[in-house]
């Protein structure tokens, strides 16, 4: 489990990345984070949803209730144009940050 602070700082980036290609609902997002990080990153309900709401509040993502035949309605989040710009900037920043850390600590040369 990564340090909590670090997790928090990068959480926005993770969510934006996951809804970038297509709309996803909250449980899906949580599952994907856990899956793709191979269990290293895990959000519980109490922190995931407030985060989603915050991003929604900033206008980076947009939640919408979607009903499908035979299913109960779910709230799907999709990225907004603003969100997309933020994501691009955050990806660059993250890259730079990770590169900088790596260079300093001499961990790896990607």
């Amino acid at each position: 489990m990564l340090d909590r602070e670090l997790k928090k700082g990068s959480a926005e980036l993770l969510i934006l990345s996951l809804v970038d290609d297509r709309p996803r609902h909250g449980y899906d997002i949580g599952q994907l984070i856990e899956l793709r990080s191979r269990g290293v990153l895990r959000f519980n309900v109490a922190s995931l949803y407030p985060l989603l709401y915050r991003l929604e509040g900033r206008g980076w993502i947009r939640g919408r209730w979607v009903e499908r035949a035979g299913q109960r309605r779910r709230r799907y989040y999709r990225i907004t144009p603003t969100g997309r710009k933020v994501l691009a900037a955050q990806r660059d920043g993250w890259q730079e940050f990770v590169g900088a850390i790596n260079r300093v600590t001499g961990i790896a040369h990607a």
Binding site: Y27, N44, V45, Y49, R54, G57, G70
Partner: protein, 911 residues
């Protein structure tokens, strides 16, 4: 349900045991007080997440318990969710509002609320009309009373810098006159020696017989110092003010008249200036006409002439009859002026010990003088109408609360579709303010009508009261009162609506709107009862006082007495012989008029004004000195005065026609005079004279003792009084004709007046009135406050009764089910009756106790208005309690009766 799982549903039935996570989440977010729709959304989304997690755990082979525990770990940190949400949710919630311009939205909301409110009011015309009537009565009475207060107490006097205008009096407290009218020489010394006043002017009443242009007429006026106009800063509308050189005897044959007299009597002739008019048989030149509305010092004054003291008058300090007005120099305070006047008076005291011993000087604001002693009565009335309004508010609040309970479905619906609680509260307040504004508008019309009625009862000597109108100030008062009223009675229902619990309503069928509402309703009834009790006590005390006042024996029989004022002009009747001849002939001829039993003349009538007072010496007793001279009211009367007035003779005899100018001087004294001055002695045969040390003075002999007469109004104890026959009197002249009749006295007025004119066609007759009317006028002020407080207290009682009735009806309606069960279980109808009335009585008695405490404190404020009753008169308190309790019982009896008629079967089914 989820499509994926539908296939396993029939086998494993996991969903049947699916734990409900909603409640867990709801518990955690409840504290955030989110908008209901938002809350529902969050709960739905998050519980779905947990459901998914739970299912996944199960599908991985976990037991139900393990899966449940795993799902809940996400919520393990108990306040994490709430904390995190709190940081975001505010913004999410406000987002829709910040999309547009916030201001426009508020205005938009308001107009929406107003339209919605209007529709709600129109939908319930019964409720709306009752509420508006209650409010209109409350606001209307406030507006009417305030407009009088505004005119009489608040509006500045119509002179420049009225705050600097003061009256200056002699302080003769030793003799019981703390504000005595100054003597001329004292006034002149004050005027010449002070450094605090810009100017000082003296006035003295005078009446004129106006004989130019039409019927002879008696007109009140004043002799005034020439500088009066400039002192008040009022210019004549036409012509000019008096000149200093006209303020000298011989040069003072000039007159200024009022606008009213100029219009009425002289057809508003602009050429009147410079023309002569005939006053008291002498010719005066008109120099000015005052502007409309100028009334100084009283409303009755219509003619003014220069005061022009002659040398004798200017030098005397023994006769006190002036009124003195002064204007403070800018920056000089009242205290400063008072200090200086005290110094001057002290100096005069040393300089003239014989006349000025213990005579000080008092400076009082003119406004206080004009407002007089009506102030406490008006303030109490203002308090009373405020109380009435409070009760009206409580009633409307009750109605609104009851209606809010009925409107639960509507509230639930609005909350569910996304109305915020603050928005709902605003909606409710808008509705109540809308109601109060309508109430205020109707109240304004009521007050216009009420003001006309009010003016009829305003005692005539209250200055400017007849000018009371609804002006801008009164209007803004009404608007303000209406708005505040709406907020006051709207708060309870609005809060109740805002605290409305959506879940409770959805769960229960909305039968019981919550005990909170009932408690507020109970409190409202208690306060209504308490407030009306205080008002009723106040009114009760005043009514009690007034009845006692009217039952006071004035000392004479006022019924079937006709009175009028006849003042003989000195020019026409220069000596006593001619006057005596006139009066003797007048009495003789009037007594021949059919319906007349007897007639008399006197210097003044009882209960009207001060009459004339003199100091007396008693034969054989040492001179008591100026501080202890007995002061007696002196009336000069004709021989059949006592018989005509109905004043009983107690001892000795009254005057006869044999008591003539040349015969022995005689005097009749009043009972209290006999008792005070000759305690334990028979006063008959004793001799008195005007206060003097002259050994040659003329003594008069006491021939009779008559019953005391109230001179200064029914409330004032009789003072010492003596009567002298007019043929022997040297100083004072009769001015009043009194006629005792067999028939309605006013029916003889024309005949009697014609008789006067048969003797002298130029002789004015004025103030024609029955004695009963004079008695009634003497208590006009008390009648005014009694009547009004009585009206307002009855209004309060009525409103409180309506309030009690409303609450009890509501409570019975609410408890129909319970009452039905009781009856089904065998409760007697009388038990139900007792229970319901008992409930009402409990509220009423609580209110009564609180009201009692309030009344004991508040009635003390009105002790100056009471007569013969103490402020906590037990009889009044008990009577009022009985009345209030009876009304309350009646008001709860009707709904209680309805309760006993509950059909148990119906009530149980009614559910």
């Amino acid at each position: 349900m989820d499509g994926r799982n539908s296939s396993v549903q029939s086998i494993a039935l996991p969903e049947l045991h699916m734990p409900d996570f909603k409640e867990e989440i709801q518990k955690r977010v409840a504290a955030l007080q989110l908008s209901p729709t938002r809350e529902v959304e969050i709960v739905e989304e998050l519980s779905q997440h947990l459901d998914d997690q739970y299912e996944q755990s199960l599908s991985r082979g976990a037991t139900e318990e393990e899966a449940y525990g795993a799902a809940l770990t996400g919520l393990a940190e108990s306040d994490l969710l709430a904390r995190e949400l709190k940081r975001v949710e505010r913004r999410v919630q406000h987002e829709p509002l910040t999309l547009g311009n916030e201001r426009t939205n508020l205005l938009g909301d308001l107009s929406q609320d107003l339209r919605y409110g209007m529709r709600m009011l129109l939908k319930n015309p019964g409720f709306t009309i009752v509420a508006i009537i209650a409010l209109a009565l409350g606001i209307g009475s406030n507006t009417a009373i305030f407009s009088v207060v505004n005119t009489v107490l608040l509006r500045p006097l119509p002179y420049k810098d009225p705050d600097r205008l003061v009256m200056v009096w002699e302080d003769n407290s030793k003799q019981g006159f703390p504000r005595d009218t100054p003597a001329a020489a004292n006034y002149i010394d004050w005027r010449d020696q002070n450094h605090v006043f810009e100017g000082m002017a003296a006035m003295v009443e005078i009446s004129f017989n106006l004989t130019s242009a039409g019927e002879p007429e008696r007109i009140d006026g004043h002799r005034v110092s020439a500088n009066l106009c400039s002192l008040l800063s009022v210019e004549p509308q036409l012509g000019r003010a008096f000149l200093p050189e006209e303020d000298i005897p011989g040069a003072n044959q000039v007159v200024i008249m009022s606008h009213g007299l100029w219009q009425r009597r002289f057809g508003a002739d602009p050429a009147i200036i410079g023309k002569p008019i005939n006053l008291n048989g002498e010719s005066f030149t008109v120099v000015g006409v005052m502007p409309r509305g100028f009334q100084f010092p009283t409303r009755a004054d219509q003619l003014w002439i220069p005061i022009a003291f002659d040398a004798k008058e200017a030098g005397q300090r023994g006769n006190h009859y002036l009124e003195v007005i002064a204007r403070l120099k800018p920056g000089i305070t009242l205290q400063r002026a008072q200090a200086e006047m005290t110094t001057i008076a002290g100096r005069l005291e040393q300089q003239y010990p014989k006349t000025n011993a213990s005579i000080g000087a008092v400076v009082t604001p003119l406004h206080e003088q004009v407002v007089g002693d009506i102030k406490p009565a008006l303030l109490i009335l203002l308090g009373a109408v405020a109380f009435v309004l409070l009760i009206a508010c409580a009633n409307v609040a009750n109605l609104l609360l009851a209606r809010a309970a009925v409107r639960q479905k509507e509230i639930a619906l609005r909350l569910a579709v996304g109305a915020s609680r603050s928005r709902l509260m605003r909606q409710f307040l808008t509705e109540s303010v809308l109601l109060s504004v309508f109430g205020g508008a109707v109240g304004l019309f009521l007050s216009l009508a009420g003001l006309d009625l009010l003016k009829r009862f305003i005692p005539p000597n209250i200055s400017h009261a007849e000018a009371a109108t609804i002006d801008a100030k009164v209007l803004s008062f009404t608007v303000l009162v209406s708005l505040v009223t709406g907020l006051i009675f709207g708060i309870a229902p609005a809060t109740q609506a805002a605290n409305f619990n959506l879940n409770d309503t959805l769960k229960e069928s909305g039968r019981d709107p919550g005990s909170g509402g009932n408690r507020i309703r109970g409190l409202l009834v208690i306060s209504e009862v308490a407030v009306s009790f205080v008002l009723l006590i106040g009114a009760g005390l005043l009514i009690n006082s007034f009845m006692r006042l009217r039952n006071v024996d004035p000392g004479f029989r006022p019924e079937k007495l006709l009175t009028m004022k006849i003042v003989l002009p000195e020019v026409r009747y220069p000596d006593r012989a001619t006057r005596s001849a006139f009066y003797t002939e007048l009495i003789r001829q009037v007594e021949t008029v059919p319906g007349v039993k007897s007639a008399a003349v006197a210097t003044s009538l009882p209960l009207t004004d001060t009459g004339n007072s003199i100091g007396i010496s008693i034969e054989g007793r040492p001179d008591p000195g100026p501080d202890h001279v007995p002061i007696v009211i002196t009336r000069i009367v004709s021989s059949r005065y006592f018989e005509t007035m109905g004043i009983p003779l107690l001892k000795g005899r009254v005057f006869t026609e044999q008591d003539r100018a040349e015969s022995t001087g005689v005097v009749v004294v009043s009972e209290i005079t006999a008792r005070r001055l000759w305690p334990g002695e028979d006063p008959i045969g004793k001799r008195i004279s005007g206060w003097s040390t002259d050994p040659q003075r003329k003594w008069v002999q006491i021939i009779g003792v008559v019953k005391d007469v109230r001179q200064f109004g029914l409330a004032a104890d009789p003072k010492l009084q003596i009567y002298l026959p007019y043929e022997q009197a040297r100083f004072f002249e009769p001015r009043a004709l009194i006629v005792r009749t067999d028939v309605d006295p006013m029916s003889l007025a024309t005949m009697v007046r014609r008789t006067v004119w048969e003797i002298d066609k130029d002789q004015p007759v004025s103030d024609i009135s029955s004695m009963e009317e004079i008695v009634s006028q003497s208590v006009a002020r008390q009648r005014f406050s009694t009547l009004l407080l009585g009206v307002f207290a009855s209004l309060a009682l009525l409103l409180a009764a309506v309030g009690i009735y409303g609450v009890m009806s509501y409570s019975v309606a609410q408890r129909t089910h319970e009452i039905g069960i009781r009856i089904a279980l065998g409760a007697q109808r009388s038990d139900v009756l007792k229970m319901t009335v008992g409930e009402g009585l409990r509220l009423v008695s609580t209110g009564l106790v609180i009201g009692l405490a309030g009344a004991l404190i508040l009635t003390r404020l009105m002790s100056s208005l009471l007569f013969g009753v103490s402020a906590n008169d037990p009889t009044t308190f008990i009577t009022i309690s009985v009345i209030l309790v009876s009304v309350a019982v009646l008001a709860s009896y009707v709904p209680a009766l309805r309760a006993t008629r509950v059909d148990p079967m119906f009530a149980l089914r009614y559910q």
